[in-house]
Assembly symmetry: C2
Homo-oligomer: 284 residues x 2
């Protein structure tokens, strides 16, 4: 498995593979890979002849007060995980390889990005769409793999691919959890032992909401309130948002009678964690 | 030569050509093709194995009070011109083939789009960049051809290609003029006989400016004033803008000691025409 730093090297390799008629899967990541990423890579390896994992902490998707500088990085660990999972290449560029100082082009998805994380992190999804567009143009993958943990990101990338006619199939992969239910995330490494315990409240509150919906509750506001109450029991937790939205348009709903995304963002101490589930009426 | 209406047909043909190792040139147009377009197609035919001409009056690059509905269309004429020029395919989609009703993705180049036509036509270049991104993703050309008449558009598309890593070479082609000097444009068909005569003032005023710069004039404001006075002599002409800008950043300059773009937009009656030239200090 090769690790390359330049766009030119990626293009050369991709051109060679395409000449041989090989299909290419892309797994875009910010590194510090965990079991969640591994499940994306595993799926990609199954479905494609060659898999490129991009490891790039993308500066333009972080807000000025967010954790770009402290975001965990561990390329040696990432190399081992990619190698053992059967990936063919890591693309690990410097920010200067990806962005000219006078760069001035952005890709923006409106509507879908207004609520949820988009409301709390202005410019975040513009940064995501821009870097994903660049990666698609550099790698020209047949398929690209994104986790359902970032449910809004997945919906936004799918919309972008549809609207801009990228010839890429976007594949969403299920959330991978720790044994005790916490959704895997690179940011979990920020948590103290006490916070790690407190973080269970995310999954716990969502489970309660799921039970309610499965039992036929239609009042989305009531479901939100139940999540809120559950999270507020945990003193180290501070709610960023709780949202029940149409799973396609991501618009908030009042009545739970369609295909729903139930998504939350919660600060545990200084660490912002997200979790979600989707629910279709009549589902058990 | 084929004329196709769907993205799917373009992709199928392109895939076949790529399998055969053929290079592809794209000439994006809004149709009603004239000698200016023909020069783009001719160049593309020389430099590529296959040439696709897109003919699409792109609704999202027109402002609400602009001429989207009345913009001239003549696909039978366009077919003849493309066929006789050696193009391999016309891509002539309906707006509904290009845009979903709930489309919400745009590509935006900032900075370069703030002055000149961008200042006068808000959203215009966002519409251009979005449709060009789509065409690049549909056609995946090796080279794409744009006229220097739309100097700002050419600069903006080049910037977009660089910033988003499109694997496309953008080729700019010189302005083609009528014998009396008027730059060829589909919008020239709007002009009455009297207006057609009045339109010569664009080229005439630019020629005066060029002479001044060639003779060593360094005061950009003075050069602008000379253009302004010349245009104002023509009663049917109304200045939209006169700009002297750095040819790369498109920022207005006061001193003419670099690589310059001298660009004007002038209403002749209700018809808005543009013209320009580039000038390098020391050039004759």
């Amino acid at each position: 498995m090769k690790t390359v730093k330049t766009i030119k090297e990626v293009r050369q390799q991709v051109r060679e593979w395409k000449r041989e008629g090989l299909s290419i899967g892309l797994v875009p990541t910010m590194g510090c890979l965990h079991e969640g990423h591994k499940s994306l890579i595993d799926t990609a390896v199954k479905e494609n002849d060659r898999v490129i994992v991009s490891v790039f902490v993308n500066p333009i998707q972080f807000g000025p007060n967010e954790d770009f500088k402290t975001y965990p990085r561990d390329i040696e660990h990432d190399k081992k995980l990619c190698e053992s999972s059967g990936a063919s290449m890591i693309f690990n560029p410097e920010p200067s390889e990806m962005y000219f100082e006078n760069r001035s082009t952005n890709v923006e998805v409106e509507g879908l990005t207004e609520g949820l994380c988009g409301a709390k992190r202005p410019g975040h999804f513009r940064g995501v769409c821009t870097v994903v567009s660049k990666l698609f143009n550099i790698v020209t993958p047949d398929r690209a793999y994104f986790g359902e943990k970032d449910a809004q990101q997945l919906a936004v990338v799918k919309r972008m691919v549809r609207d801009l006619n990228f010839d890429v199939q976007v594949v969403g992969c299920p959330i991978i959890r720790e044994e005790d239910g916490l959704a895997k995330s690179s940011r979990n490494t920020y948590l103290s032992k006490e916070e790690r315990q407190a973080s269970l409240v995310l999954n716990k509150s969502l489970k309660k909401a799921k039970k309610l919906l499965e039992d036929g509750e239609k009042d989305a506001l009531l479901v939100k309130r139940v999540i809120e109450q559950e999270i507020n029991k945990q003193p180290l937790a501070r709610i960023d948002y709780i949202e029940i939205a149409d799973s396609e348009s991501l618009r908030p709903v009042k009545k739970a009678d369609e295909s729903l995304l139930i998504a939350i963002a919660v600060f545990i101490g200084k660490t912002r964690l997200i979790d979600n589930f989707t629910f279709r009426t009549g589902e058990k």
